[in-house]
Symmetry: C2
Subunit: 210 residues, 2 copies
DNA sequence: GAATTATATTAGGATTCCTAAATATAAAAG
DNA sequence: CTTTTATATTTAGGAATCCTAATATAATTC
């Protein structure tokens, strides 16, 4: 069926993109509001979050790649964090490399700040369960698609994990299975940063999920 | 039903938030890649987009509010755009105020750049129609919720428009109605920046949609 | 005419971002 | 054993982004 909206509107993919862009702007603007003397700037906060997720610390190059900025930018931010006593710089195992990790103070701040801006979580919670699950599913697919195209570094998604077994259970309320913890689960349980994630070699499981 | 995932996972709202935050970071990082000598920086590009949508130009204060930055930051960015010949500064109708508008060059650049980063639109297009519609619906609700709480300035959403008539048609493929163009439409047609939008006085229509 | 109000800019400074060049270091090559 | 090479980080330099606080300017109000 064709309505006037089919012809005068931007395609839905563009409107959804515009919505994501809009939310991105809000997040950036909000993040600066936390840049008080006791707090950290957006880039610094992002780096603290990455270090918190990374077992055993990260090199400067790894941080720069994950932040999506140049090495000098990352170096600046890390030096500032080090001077604030939030991050520790230790020699790495490769020539000239350093290993960055959180100090107890940095750990505490990252814990307190969290990776989830409350105002946005509050907004997500105004959606009902099905809508939240659909939103999460869409976001997982977006991130996965960007990963495949090389637009973003690999992330620890269930759908790219060696232990992911999609649609193996007949029960619609938990059709997938995690072979690591050996338990069934549903789309709404999909994770974006699983600590136990192991990258799968091929796409076969993902294909069964999509 | 309760699985292990219910207990060890972050709540779904937090995971969805984390996904949005992640996409926001990518967008910011990408936007800087366009900051070539011929291109514009992220904040400047955002401002160009706002001016393109605004009939008749905007004051500096309005730009600052819409960008979500302080007046001095906006003033800097607009001066740079003016010196690049992309924006025109004219006296406004209030004391000391200015009216900012796009020059033909600015119009052309805004047109060319667009508000929709292609790499993200491409990712959205990997979702099927139902998923795209669900994503758009979720984003519209998020933006609406943030608007209501005062987290972001008003935006021209269908669901807050005087002409929006939700769920008035029995046909599930186009249950809503736009009283301005007098045509039925569906969730997938929802707009985030309609030129004809007029803010509704109350919530009654939105309540029927949610 | 003086005080108030609204709006934008200037001042000053930290951070974010870039590219290009310099530096340090371990391993490999001669 | 010395030199080269590859790698990783930092320095240098500069534009843009961000903030708060102070300042200019024009219209309105008293």
């Amino acid at each position: 069926m064709t309505t006037i909206f089919e012809t005068i509107s931007e395609p839905i993919a563009r409107r959804a993109t515009a919505g994501l862009v809009r939310i991105g702007h809000v997040l950036r603007s909000r993040a600066w509001k936390g840049a008080t003397p006791e707090g950290v700037t957006p880039t610094q906060g992002h780096a603290l979050g990455l270090l918190r997720e990374a077992e055993g610390g990260l090199s400067l190059g790894a941080i720069a790649a994950l932040l999506g900025v140049s090495a000098p930018t990352a170096s600046d931010a890390m030096s500032t964090l080090a001077s604030k006593g939030l991050v520790d710089k230790a020699p790495g195992d490769r020539p000239r490399s350093i290993n960055l990790s959180l100090t107890p103070q940095g750990e505490a701040l990252a814990e307190r700040t969290g990776a989830w801006p409350d105002f946005l979580t509050d907004a997500v919670e105004t959606l009902n369960d099905a809508e939240q699950a659909a939103l999460l599913r869409g976001l997982v697919k977006l991130i996965r698609a960007m990963q495949v195209k090389g637009d973003i570094p690999l992330q620890k998604l269930c759908v790219t994990c060696r232990y992911f077994r999609p649609n193996v259970h007949p029960e619609p309320e938990a059709p997938h299975h995690c072979a690591l913890v050996d338990a069934p689960f549903a789309d709404r349980h999909l994770r974006l940063a699983c600590g136990e994630h192991q990258q799968a070699d091929d796409d076969s499981f993902y294909e069964q999920w999509r």
